[in-house]
């Protein structure tokens, strides 16, 4: 089927050349960064000899380790909460009809579509007002910090988890669940024994995506973090804006490789057991388009 699609002769060679250029464009900057992170020289642009000097410097830097610890706490908590809530959201939207479903369907995708900057602005004002309100009513003074960062990350991660799990749910009709119900399985048993095993790869893929997004977020975090509660990307962002140092290259390389690994795992999980036919359409589900997906099904 696919063979006769392939254009022949010069057209195909041009297409292939274009594809090569695009892949080089995608990977060359990444490769260069990784390469330069092993440069021993203080000056980033003068290559002397390969060394792990800057990786050792990174492990000795308390601020970097502190920011990393913050990042991990926020990412773990927000991923766990967003995965549970997002999976429930996906189930409700995909399997049930209820009042307010249409509105929820609309709201659910907005945190994905809205730009980071506006999301950050919204949450900054919200937390400012909320903290003021709590102080007036309860007399308790709260501050922005890891707590507000975590709440903000959950807000955007719920939507991403829901999209991924929904794509998975969309691949199965609910006849298996109905069969379980006919055999007098309780709702919980049906979910535990039938639905969950079917969607597990989607849930795990969504969770890994949430983890990646939380570990990488700069913009929203910058708005809702407080004194002494920066995450690793926000800290690195601050360093980058002040200038390029070999230390940033080492930290960046670690961050980049960690996120690439998580993405690869996430993709692998989402595609497992979905290798037949629709397997390819799967990947495009990753992109939150609006009209496309109804047809893919």
């Amino acid at each position: 089927m696919s063979e006769h699609r392939q254009p022949r002769g010069p057209v195909d060679r041009l297409l292939a050349a274009n594809a090569w250029v695009v892949y080089v464009f995608f990977y060359a900057p990444i490769g260069l960064l990784i390469f330069l992170s092993f440069n021993d020289n203080e000056n980033v642009s003068i290559w002397t000899e390969p060394s792990l000097r800057w990786y050792r410097a990174m492990l000795d830097d308390d601020r970097i380790l502190g920011a990393l610890r913050n990042s991990l706490i926020v990412a773990l908590v927000s991923t766990i909460v967003a995965t549970i809530v997002g999976t429930m959201l996906a189930l409700a939207l995909e399997r049930y009809r209820f009042r307010g479903r249409g509105a929820l369907d609309g709201i659910a995708y907005m945190p994905i579509i809205i730009p980071d900057v506006t999301m950050g602005v919204m949450l900054l004002i919200f937390f400012f007002q909320a903290i003021g309100l709590i102080q007036d009513v309860l007399g308790v003074t709260l501050r922005t910090g890891l707590g507000t960062i975590t709440l903000a990350h959950i807000a955007f991660n719920i939507s991403f988890v829901a999209v991924v799990v929904r794509a998975r749910l969309g691949q199965f009709d609910n006849s298996l669940e109905e069969a379980a119900a006919d055999l007098y399985a309780s709702r919980w048993q049906t979910f535990r024994r039938v639905t969950l095993p079917l969607i597990a790869p989607g849930v795990a893929g969504g969770a890994l995506l949430a983890l990646t997004l939380s570990l990488d977020d700069v913009v929203v975090t910058q708005f809702v973090s407080g004194q002494g509660s920066t995450t690793l990307p926000v800290y690195v962002f601050g360093l980058v804006r002040r200038g390029v140092t070999p230390l940033i290259n080492a930290v960046s390389t670690v961050m980049l490789l960690a996120s690439m690994l998580l993405v690869a795992l996430s993709l692998g999980l989402q595609r497992s057991r979905g290798r037949t036919g629709e397997g390819q359409a799967d990947l495009s589900e990753f992109v939150p388009t609006t009209s496309q997906h109804e047809e893919t099904g």
Binding site: S2, H4, Q6, N18, V22, F26, P29, I30, L32, S45, V85, M88, F98, G100, L104, I107, P111, I113, P115, D116, V117, T118, M122, L123, I125, L151, A155, I158, T212, D216, V218, V219, Q222, F223, F237, V240, R241, V244, I248, S252, T253, M255, S259, M260, V263, A264, S266, G279, Q280, A281, L283, S284, F286, P288, T289, T290, S291, Q292, E295, T296
Partner: protein
Amino acid sequence: MTQQATPALEAAAEKARARNGFRIALPAYAYLVIFFVVPLLLVLVYSFASRSSTGLTVLEDWNFDSYARLFSTDVGRIFLRSLVLALSTTAICLVVCYPFAYYIATRGPTLRNVLLVLVMIPFWSNFLVRTYAWTFILGSDGVVSQISQAFGGEPVRLLFTNTAVLIGMVYGFMPFMVLPLYAAIERLDWSLIDAARDLYASGWTAFRKVTLPLSMPGVVAGSILVFIPSLGAYVTPAILGGARTTLMGDYIVGQFLTARNWPFGSALSIALMTLMLIATLIYFRSGARNV
């Protein structure tokens, strides 16, 4: 094996099901209302508020001053620059990605999946770091400059210019274009193209009259998905741009984190969201006509 149900029982079961659905949706519903809908409304409220001399936002003396300021020349210039850059980014992505997506979609199933994964991995990996990597290519002793000097030319510093921001945005948002285009092309009914060729259409004519119109939904979706984040870009101009390349994204951030003018920042955010909404509507309209 289903039991014989009367209509009344069926209606009751339906109702119970709806109740369950609502219960399952409730945590997400509540969370998104509190942490998304309410904050959105607060931004709208703030955009009409006034600002005290010390930079605090005063939630009284409601006015349209912040919106009036949107029409000043300074702000207009920033809006225009953002718009031009976002449109250029979208256009470049479209021109490069259409043949790219076409190439992937016309390979065999195994190769196709490998090629797609190779697009997805950089797409979802750390955006900040990927943008930062470009400083080594565009800086005054970066790769571009060194190549230029190797050929006897002048040192070139693209970093901190509009060109650098454009390159960074094309790089960052290109996968948003590839994936919907791929999805649209992969789904094409190839027998229609065979039919066109059988009727003696040239390759180009078959492409123009059959392939392109049929893949239009992908073009529309991809363009929206690139245009929207380009218009609100913040990290890219912050790292690759300079003082004279302020875009809407970093301008808004500045209002909140340095200038401390929250009402004006809110009005800017509302304007940005409105522009996106308009862009989305225009795209959908034109898309619907072309399909």
